[in-house]
């Protein structure tokens, strides 16, 4: 197992190299002129003569071959320099650093109800297989899984903001923003709701939560449905296993058969999915942050992509892929922790 983890860690840079190279090669399709538009104000751009264009292209090294430019970029990455983001009007590294806490906050809060409720309902559905509860949960889940997040997000916004006026879009109210940006407000973790509590500002905490509920509801709905399905089928498979019968033959009460013998085994595949889900939550924030107009990595990436801000795009891809790979590694370790056959194998 240790060897496996080391192997994965050694493969990590190789995969990141591959990932960035793919994205970098794609930008090659754009051609130097398009690439240049990321550096020059569009108003000025239209007035440039061909000669000026060539000069600028040369100045930014856009006429150099792919490899040269790629290694220049990689070199920058090693020095913490991811380039300049036109969309954010600040260095990409800085832009990402500022936005991570907001996305992290959203993902963290969304995860808790998803994992708890999803697994609980999945087990309940499996135990009551083909009974009313099972059908009800399954239908709920499959409808949830079929509901596109942006459609559901719009509905949430319509109901909870337009009609009821409870949960507004955005990241925080403007009065709160003023306080947060003032020097008295200490930033301990950069996660707004936690910092608000640490500063003793319950009003700001409540404001942050109010802005979070809509997005959390939107994201968790989808993943919750998904996790439930996986838990149910995994649990059903395990309940048919012989060792469950052995436990019953020992006289173990049904409650323990399910929650001790079966669930521990059923959780093994669920961990993989739950992990993939946490990773999915991070990238799922793209849509939600756009709909709810929240500050965060997702919206930043979406904006960067639509505006061909390719330095920012590369930086974001690097960020997301790193999270994804490390996330998968953690899943594998968790997997091993649950399954002694792998841990000791």
């Amino acid at each position: 197992m240790t060897a496996y983890i080391i192997r994965r860690l050694l493969l990590l840079p190789l995969i990141l190299f591959g990932v960035t190279l793919i994205i970098f090669s794609f930008t090659q399709i754009l051609g130097p002129e398009k690439l240049l538009s990321a550096y020059v104000n569009p108003n000025v751009f239209d007035k440039l003569s061909n000669e000026d264009l060539d000069k600028l292209i040369h100045k930014y090294g856009l006429d150099q071959p792919l490899w040269t430019r790629y290694f220049k970029w990689i070199n920058g990455v090693f020095h913490g320099d991811l380039g300049w983001s036109v969309t954010a009007k600040q260095p990409v590294a800085q832009a990402i650093k500022e936005r991570i806490p907001y996305t992290l906050e959203l993902a963290l809060y969304a995860m808790i109800p998803v994992i708890g409720v999803g697994i609980w309902l999945g087990v309940a559905a499996a135990v009551n297989r083909d009974k009313f509860l099972d059908h009800f949960i399954r239908i709920f889940a499959i409808v949830g899984w079929s509901l596109p997040d942006f459609v559901f997000g719009l509905v949430v916004l319509m109901i909870f903001y337009s009609v009821l006026g409870w949960f507004p879009p955005g990241t925080m109210s403007s009065w709160a923003e003023q306080i947060v940006k003032s020097p008295e407000f200490k930033h301990f973790t950069h996660i707004l709701s936690i910092d608000a509590l640490l500063n003793g500002r319950l009003d700001i905490f409540w404001d942050a939560i109010r802005h979070l509920i809509g997005p959390i509801l939107t994201i968790s709905w989808l993943w919750w449905a998904y996790l439930l399905r996986i838990t149910r089928s995994s649990m059903l498979e395990v309940l048919g296993k012989e060792y469950v019968r052995t436990a019953r033959a020992k006289g173990v009460p049904e409650k323990d058969v399910i929650h001790k013998h079966a669930r521990k085994n059923a959780m093994i595949p669920v961990v993989t999915v739950a992990g993939a889900m946490v990773i999915g939550l991070l990238s799922g924030t793209v849509i939600v942050e756009v709909i709810f107009n929240r500050i965060g990595m997702g919206r930043f990436t979406a904006q960067a992509a639509t505006q061909l801000d390719y330095a920012a795009v590369l930086g974001s891809v690097l960020f997301y892929s790193t999270i994804l790979i490390i996330g998968n590694l953690i899943i594998d370790i968790l997997y091993a922790a649950l399954d002694p056959r792998i841990r000791l194998g």
Partner: protein
């Protein structure tokens, strides 16, 4: 074989949710096939020389019927209402065709690609497998939506670009599934028996291995179809897919989101702008998921 088929069908239709799925799917197929009859591709505002309404050059471009940009509530002529001067009903009907087009093309192309990669990796093993699987890992390490988003932007927006992007980043799950299945089937005795008979590798893969691994792949493809349509719509929603005015549920929703909050004092004034295209999409995806779920129950109870 006939009894086997009957058994399978009986199992398939035992489940009420499966019946619902197939019924919904049949409904959408009918809508797509008969779209020209349900919503004729004509522009009544522009009569041709005979006084008949003019035929549209491209039926997927929704004709502009009114110059008012505010949404118009449902009426007899426009049962789903109008937005940006275009008939929502028309968009929903022709959007069905768009959804099928996106789903089927992307799923079949990416599945085929995945089958090829997965078969080669699984059957030959060794360094070929190692290299192909590491490439798969790399492609899997970019979140799908993000990858599709970036590639679409680079290729330039448009539905065809969205599809290309989704194919390029959509084959990995199939490749992995096929590879895992082949590794399993490869050890089956009938494959060894075929080898003992001196049958060639290619024939062994195509005749003996693939037919035994294809059902889980088909189930997976069905279940993926729904989520691919969602992703395509999400890209349109982000402004990267079909242009405004194209009969596509995603781009319609992108446009209508501006009206979601209603007008002052009337929160739900423009509900129909989101409801109809949104509902069409939900039902479409639901149909595929229900069908996929039913197929999974029948063909591979263990597949997740």
């Amino acid at each position: 074989m006939n009894t086997e088929l009957k058994r399978t069908l009986r199992k398939l239709f035992k489940n009420p949710s499966a019946i619902l799925g197939f019924a919904l799917l049949a409904f959408f197929i009918l809508v797509a096939v008969f779209a020209p009859l349900i919503a004729p591709p004509i522009n009544p505002l522009f009569p041709d020389e005979n006084g008949n309404p003019m035929k549209l050059d491209d039926p997927y471009i929704m004709p502009i019927l009114s110059w008012s940009s505010d949404p118009v509530p449902p009426s007899k002529d426009h049962p789903f209402g109008m937005i940006a001067g275009r008939d929502i009903f028309y968009g929903v009907v022709w959007g069905t065709r768009t959804a099928f087009k996106i789903g089927l093309i992307v799923v079949s192309a990416s599945t085929l690609f995945g089958i090829i990669i997965g078969s080669i990796a699984g059957y030959f093993g060794g360094w070929i497998d190692e290299v192909l699987m590491r490439i798969t890992d790399i492609f899997l390490s970019i979140p799908f939506l993000l990858a599709a988003m970036v590639l679409t932007t680079i290729l330039g927006s448009g539905l065809d670009k969205v599809m290309i992007a989704m194919i390029i980043f959509g084959w990995m799950a199939t490749a992995r599934l096929i590879r895992a299945n082949i590794l399993q089937v490869k050890e089956e005795q009938f494959v060894l028996a075929a080898k003992a008979l001196g049958i060639k590798n290619f024939i062994i893969i195509v005749r003996h291995i693939l037919p035994n691994t294809i059902f889980p792949v088909l189930v997976q493809a069905t279940m993926r179809l729904g989520s691919l349509v969602i992703t395509a719509a999400a890209l349109s929603f982000l402004g990267l897919g079909a242009p405004i005015g194209y009969a596509d549920w995603g781009s319609m929703l992108n446009y209508t989101r501006n009206y979601i909050l209603g007008s002052s004092g009337q929160a739900l004034a423009y509900w129909y702008t989101v409801f109809y295209p949104g509902m069409a999409m939900v039902l479409f995806v639901l149909a595929w998921n229900l069908v996929g779920d039913a197929l999974r129950d029948v063909f591979d109870p263990k597949l997740k």
